[in-house]
Symmetry: C2
Subunit: 210 residues, 2 copies
Amino acid sequence: MNKISDKKIERIITYRRVLLRLDKQLGKTHVFSHQLASSSGASSAQVRRDLMEIGYTGSPAHGYEIRGLLDSIGEFIDPDQKEGIALVGVGNLGRAIIDYFNGQSSKLEIVTVFDVNPDKIERVISGCRSYHVKDLKPVIIEKKIKTAVITVPSGSAQSVADELIEAGVKGILNYAPITLTVPHGIYVENRDMITTLEKVSYFAKNNTNK
Amino acid sequence: MNKISDKKIERIITYRRVLLRLDKQLGKTHVFSHQLASSSGASSAQVRRDLMEIGYTGSPAHGYEIRGLLDSIGEFIDPDQKEGIALVGVGNLGRAIIDYFNGQSSKLEIVTVFDVNPDKIERVISGCRSYHVKDLKPVIIEKKIKTAVITVPSGSAQSVADELIEAGVKGILNYAPITLTVPHGIYVENRDMITTLEKVSYFAKNNTNK
DNA sequence: AGATGTGAATGGGTTCACAGCA
DNA sequence: TGCTGTGAACCCATTCACATCT
């Protein structure tokens, strides 16, 4: 498999979302690259390049066939069936993410959650069985979970990450305001809200172009 | 002012967080670029380049003086005093962000929130006065708010964004799963959780390096 | 006429590598 | 010796531009 860049798959995932809306809500059957581009925050050349990468080709006359393109993207992004995700840290943010996420339809589903607070374990939270963090490793291993979300305080984020990785997790979405140190081959996305908001505020002040 | 890239200020903000911890918790007075780098997920050359950009210089003997560097970063990132942020959409996610955010100390503070649900307006939520979305424009104008967070459902995100921008907002942090269309000169950061998790899941499966 | 697919050019961010310095 | 500061080289993503197709 030829490696594909971070930004590129993010765009492709965005195309899919746009295509689903065009298909379902507007009942369209075809799109041109420039239409897909303007709904996705990309350029039309970028769209064409990206679709080239996944090997889907359109026609100059009608553009891209939406259903077919959706299938191609689906094969490319998630060839598997439903995949279970774990979430560690059932605070306000964690609970919000669970609710938000499992309301949407997607091949991904948060199926297991962990916390240290006894009030929050051995229960069912928004349809997910919750466990104590001390049982993290065996549960993750048993359920063969490969992707996890961290919403614990920054002090415990690194140790949680370490355990997740020991249990076989390969991708981590981290909301704790700390940069995780992970071995080669593990993918981490940091989404600390404070850093992000500070950045947005900076650009709001320093009125740049794009 | 010479324009500075998105990624670069994100790194600089991260450096600040690391420096604050080194200063407060560990009582260190100096750092070398490679230490700062490994705690921030950057390379040492990158750190040196970035600090060059903000005009701070260290010494080959001791590295960078932490307090001084913090001051320089502070001047660079937020020259102003406290800044008020608005948040639109007081669902689970919105409330989690308010609580999470206003617990931390930062020059930024969420001071005003909006919703359409009558149960949630004319009240004080986690210390923030809440208003109905119909009053969005006058309130934002009156409070001179320049940065806002959108946590409404995707169907209303674009119209909320339009109103925010009409009211003078220059930076938007968008959690709705839709790509906002905004005029030139407005900064938008999309942080849709579903897209992000789909991406992380993709890279968890396609075990790439880095 | 107007869109796709794609080699070629462009641009910008990252790394290299080394002079200069304590 | 080991680090900083920085020109130069490198690399990769985006854009340009155009032949091609309907």
